[in-house]
């Protein structure tokens, strides 16, 4: 479950070594946009050294490598791919890139005799990438996918606004494609770090469309993001009532039942199960309660 991912510049030791304390579900060590072109080697070595040598790591680690068409892509992969990481976040992802990356990862995993299979998190941040979203989400190694609004709106030649109406279509398309293929959709960062209300609204908008989580560019954003993408207390109470009512109905041998005057059928129960799963993952479901 990924409700929040914190972006950390890959050339900043102070931020790298404290990234794990802020409660994000995962940390993205960035070798791309937040690292100056003359410091790419520094960042790559620093992140690699942190992964191999430092004793305390975030629970989930994502590495944003430089794009496929950059001179740094291969060196980045060679350096960072290892059992310590979980995802490679690929900028400007295209179907052909994912195919190539899958093959490269297989090779490196065999060479380094890794115990795990590294997942791919494509970053949809251009019109051509968006158009290919379904094809991208279909790849077996893709279990999460991120939307990048800054680069996307720049590519489209449109202005990005706080209200984000111009993002409605790409968000909806990404959320649907992800759900079709069992992939977690991660929303773009909200760039005004001081605007907590704006962040809440933006995150809620993404959640309402079916996004599973959102990227953060500052630790102070994480609490709000986690809250938005965790099941609410009200939802949890509702789900518990559904299971309570189902238990009663099962005991009485009733196949169909109702709660608060509304019929409870399979889709409704399925929703309650999703809430329960998420709540357990967030440690918000207390035990002693049977399905």
């Amino acid at each position: 479950m990924i409700r929040s991912l914190l972006f950390v510049p890959g050339n900043n030791p102070g931020m790298i070594q404290s990234a794990d304390v802020f409660g994000a579900d995962g940390v993205i060590f960035d070798l791309e946009d937040s690292v100056h072109i003359y410091e790419k080697d520094n960042a790559r070595m620093l992140v690699k050294s942190f992964l191999r040598n430092h004793p305390i790591h975030p629970a989930k680690i994502v590495i944003r490598v430089n794009s496929v068409d950059s001179p740094f892509f291969s060196a980045d992969l060679e350096a960072v791919v290892g059992d310590e990481i979980d995802y490679v976040l690929l900028p400007k992802a295209r179907i052909s890139d994912i195919k190539m990356l899958t093959e490269k990862l297989e090779t490196i995993e065999k060479e380094k005799k890794l115990k795990k299979q590294i997942a791919i998190m494509p970053l949809i941040e251009s019109a051509v990438s968006l158009v290919e979203t379904e094809g991208i989400a279909e790849f077996p190694r893709v279990s999460a996918l991120m939307f990048g609004a800054e680069d996307f709106t720049a590519d489209m030649g449109i202005t990005r606004t706080k209200q984000g109406k111009e993002l409605a279509y790409p968000r909806a398309k990404i959320a649907v494609a992800c759900h079709a293929y069992g992939v977690q959709a991660i929303d773009t960062p909200f760039t005004d770090v001081d605007d907590e209300d704006g962040l809440f609204r933006d995150a809620s908008e993404a959640a309402s469309l079916g996004f599973a989580g959102k990227a953060a560019i500052h630790p102070r954003q994480i609490e709000i993001i986690n809250r938005v993408f965790s099941p609410s207390d009200d939802n949890i109470i509702w789900a518990k009532r559904i299971f309570e009512a189902k238990k009663e109905a099962d005991q009485k041998g009733h196949g169909v039942f109702s709660l608060d005057g509304k019929m409870v059928d399979k889709p409704v129960i399925s929703r309650a199960e999703t809430i329960r799963e998420k709540a357990i993952a967030c440690k918000k479901w207390d035990d002693g309660f049977e399905k």
Partner: protein
């Protein structure tokens, strides 16, 4: 002269300079020298051994960097030195 510099003087970081020399010399200027001099020296000598480098001068200006950072900055400085012109 082949020389490589990597890192910064920011808090938690270290600025490492390495150059080819006629002998081995390691100079440590650290804000936490009293507490970690030996550990910093060991990290540097371990890396030099791994890279089979003997006759080099290493200068580190340390602002409280942890082991993994010192190691990384030195490795990058070495790579830059090896890529630099004579």
């Amino acid at each position: 002269m082949k020389i490589g510099i990597a890192g910064s003087l920011e808090s938690n970081d270290a600025l490492v300079t390495i150059k080819e020399s006629t002998t081995r010399r390691i100079e440590i200027k650290s804000i936490v020298d009293a507490f970690f001099h030996e550990q910093i020296e060991k990290t540097i000598t371990d890396v030099l051994k791994e890279k089979a480098l003997q006759n080099v001068t290493v200068l580190i200006q340390d602002r409280g960097a942890l082991d993994y950072t010192i190691r990384a900055r030195l490795l990058t400085a070495i790579a830059r030195m090896e890529a630099s012109d004579d």
